[in-house]
Every structure is written in structure tokens, then in C-alpha cells.
Subunit: 141 residues, 2 copies
């Protein structure tokens, strides 16, 4: 697989990989909703089209952000989990959450609450907790 | 203007606004390359198509991430600058830069260097410096 990077800028290169409307939501679903299978992801509130979901899962696997394995006792079912590169996106997702909470509530007045004070005041502990919680949920801790 | 938010999730809502391949690059160009005009942005290394650039500038203005004004002494030329909401994206861009530097160099081997140690060890000072530098560059400090 070869990715067409637009240039040598690190920001641009990251967006060439995760700068679409779906990749970070798939990762969010893994981290916060314990989602692991194609069916799990396809039932998200944002209603991702199955062909796009399929293509994004394949791409995220190719760039080593997620990995695919077989479900225990069910060789027909694929399980997707985050790799270290995927887990390293937790700080990006946290900053997006803080920005969203503080800056676009007036645009989306139905937006869910965020425990902003805890996230801002204990950021590293919250991020570590998300990582540890995820690793426990997939049996890696 | 009304934005169709996919749901009430803060992460998803943010991506409905900045989750495309160009918005954060336009903001990057403002922050780090002192770009201000349509012509400035259209000469970026990533070669954004002018119709997409035009549409993204209009959208970013509508959601109050950037604002448009007239150049001093040249009423024909529009100047785009970041608002407070736009400046508040600096931490998001910083975390994307750190993630990129540490996780996807193997995919884009020509990626430019990042002063990662400084960014990681003095993060708040670096972020404050970027904000202050930008505000000075537009004559707001």
C-alpha cells in the first residue's frame, strides 16, 4: 500500500491519514463504546455507510492504527482493536473534545455535556485512564 | 447558515466543522506562514483547488473560526485572520503534530523535522508563543 502524501508537512501528513469525517469516530467508538466488530461500528449514531466503513477499516489497518484478529471461538467474526499508534491518538481526540465543548455549542445546541473541568484540570490522568480502560476492555491488561 | 450535525457527540460535531483535509491546513498557514489572502492560501504546497479554497474560507468565516476584513489602503483585497475560536485550535494542531512526528514517519519518510522535545516538554509555553506570535503578526498585540 502506498499513500499519496501531499507534502512533507507533519500536519498535512497526519490529515492525509485521519483527516476525514470517519476515522476518528471509529477510534472514538473503540475507546469509549467498546465497539469491536463491523456490525458494532455500523450501528453508530452517525450512520456511516457500510462501504465507507469497510474502506476506512481496511485503510486504518493498513496504516497500523488498528489491527484485525479473529473472535475467540468464532472464526467467522473479525475483531478490530487499536494498536499503539491508534492509542496515541487519545490526546488529539481529547483536544478536539475540549475545543468543541468550548467553541461550537452555539452551533450545535443539542451537544452532549463534557466533564470539561476534570478533563482540563486532570488531563494526563484522564488520558491515562482512557488508555488503561481500553486495554482492560480488550483483555490486554 | 445551518450546519447538519450528525449527532450530539462533541467529537463528531467538531469533525463536522474541521474534519476535512483542508480547514486545519488553512489555519496552519495563518499561524505559521503569516498567510492572509486568498492568493496566499492558494500557493500552499498542497495545491488546494481554488473552488475548494473559496468554499472553505466562506465556511470557516460562517462558523466564526476566521474573519474577513479589508486590507489597509487596498479595499479590493480581503484579509482573513483567525478569531478566538480559531486560535483555540492551536492545541489540536499541536497534538496532531506530535502524533504525526511519533507515529507516521515510516509512512512518509520525507516528513519535515519537528522540535518534538521542546513541544512536549514546554507545551504550554510553545502554544502560548504561537498564539502571541500570531496576534503580533496581525497587529493585534
Amino acid at each position: 500500500m502506498s499513500i499519496e502524501f501531499r507534502c512533507k508537512c507533519p500536519i498535512s501528513s497526519a490529515l492525509d491519514i485521519i483527516g476525514d469525517k470517519w476515522s476518528l469516530l471509529i477510534i472514538r467508538d473503540m475507546l469509549f463504546d467498546n465497539k469491536k466488530t463491523f456490525t458494532d461500528f455500523s450501528t453508530s449514531e452517525e450512520s456511516i455507510a457500510t462501504n465507507i466503513l469497510s474502506s476506512r477499516l481496511k485503510f486504518l489497518e493498513e496504516v497500523h492504527i488498528i489491527k484485525k484478529s479473529k473472535a475467540e471461538g468464532n472464526l467467522k467474526s473479525n475483531i478490530y482493536t487499536l494498536t499503539e499508534k491508534g492509542l496515541n491518538l487519545i490526546p488529539v481526540i481529547a483536544e478536539i473534545t475540549i475545543w468543541s465543548d468550548e467553541n461550537i455549542r452555539e452551533l450545535n445546541t443539542t451537544m452532549a455535556d463534557v466533564d470539561r473541568e476534570n478533563l482540563k484540570n486532570n488531563k494526563q490522568a484522564v488520558l491515562d485512564g482512557i488508555r488503561q480502560g481500553y486495554l482492560k476492555s480488550i483483555g490486554a491488561l
